[in-house]
Symmetry: C2
Subunit: 306 residues, 2 copies
Amino acid sequence: MAQLESWRAGAAKSVITDFVTRVTTVGGPDFLPVSERIATFDNDGTLWCEQPLQVQFFFGRDRLKAMAEKDPSLAQRQPFKAFLDHDMAAIRDLGMRGFFEVAAATHAGLTEDEFEVVARDWLLTSRHPSLGRPFTDLVYRPQIDLIAYLQANGFKVFIVSGGGIDLIRSFSEGVYGVARDQVVGSSVKTSFELRDGVGVLVKRAEIDSFDDREAKPHNIGLHIGRRPVFAFGNSDGDLAMLRYTKTGRGPRLALLIHHDDPEREFAYDRDFRVSPLAEALDKAKDYGIEVVSMKDDWATVFDQPK
Amino acid sequence: MAQLESWRAGAAKSVITDFVTRVTTVGGPDFLPVSERIATFDNDGTLWCEQPLQVQFFFGRDRLKAMAEKDPSLAQRQPFKAFLDHDMAAIRDLGMRGFFEVAAATHAGLTEDEFEVVARDWLLTSRHPSLGRPFTDLVYRPQIDLIAYLQANGFKVFIVSGGGIDLIRSFSEGVYGVARDQVVGSSVKTSFELRDGVGVLVKRAEIDSFDDREAKPHNIGLHIGRRPVFAFGNSDGDLAMLRYTKTGRGPRLALLIHHDDPEREFAYDRDFRVSPLAEALDKAKDYGIEVVSMKDDWATVFDQPK
């Protein structure tokens, strides 16, 4: 049985293990059949580092740089200009949707197989700007352990992210142990074409769904078709998902990670313009959401470099 | 190990069992890891009876009748008028999308929990117009056995249907053994609302996706994120999905059920105006699609009434 060794003993760990014990105790009042053990996790800031900006930003920017070398006119058009000029105020104003729009624009025309190669190559070769490690090294060890713990207890774990669905899928099985079809995220429209006799999905620049705020419950309904009993987020963008989860009948657990650990990661909440944590933090008690302190509740944050 | 006793010995059964043996033989040239064993099935006409019209039609019409008793003006508006007048030519012209639009219009305003109750009640109480049995009795025994056989061999089985995603989910786990999140179908937009403090998804009349033809590969990309290696359909509406599946690299199997059994079910193909089988039948050999004869290849069609 997977354990939560990366979680310090305390209220947060207890509320998780108590909940899982209750819903898995056969004959108990809160027992849930396996089919109802649905857990959803946000990705940016919940499963991996989102500072100084979400990974989606770096992904789009790097591709944009390569494209601008071939087509300098890109550098004169917004929002591309802001990305290429490192205009941080303008970049932060774009928010997560803006990052996704740029990433979508720069990957339009690729087939899904081509995109997979681009995404995997980029994740292998790119590095976090200050921490100097691959972004997939900057996943939170306690969350990896928690996903494994939930799966070992019969939960089906889904990622529900504002990030691009196919970028996350390119590493979700290897890094999180979450199958590609259990990833929900922002997505673009595609065209089905036959190229050299092979049917392919070609990515278009047009956004199909920006999976943030109220879109998260909608996409949970679309992709999962069942209200989660467990949800974990870190910003106001996750509040609708957390409340959708928490306000159902029966046993429910909604959690929010608070980035209060400048020594090991970062300390931020309402001041993070891209994806602030304000209402969810102020109203957590009213809404029955459990706030987890990165500083106090996590024994480790990242695995040591290999 | 699940067996295919409801399939007669012959070419169709052999092609299935040979394929499954090849992709599950460790060390063999066609071995696939479990994560790549993705199978998709159409629903109407592939997993259950779609004659004289798709179940979605009867579902929408019955709800429309109840609504028209309260609001007689509905009977003056198309496409509702055609449904209520039993104008069969007009109804058939509407096609599957028209059936879904009517069902969507008649369920707008319901929460997902309310819809689930409506769908389950309707499936329990309604009967096929000529066969006199509940629609969920009119699922094909050989396909239920095939789903179980694939699952026993490590396949993750998905339904990819033009029918309403939540109608299928209301019986997919009990009847097909397919989890709700493994159902893909036509869907409507929803609104996230708090009603009496409970977060709910409210169905709107606006279609989000009509999951037919080229939309099937798109929705496979969106929901599954991996090209299937096995697909089963029965009409031109499935052709894009079958070709998407069949034209990938490595071992692939695409199958088409031909309704040629007027004794036990129905005989139809290119004459079925709602969802014809014409191009897929004419080009099956060119496209490498295996045609399955209901009459010859299936030892049973439906289970006996209980």
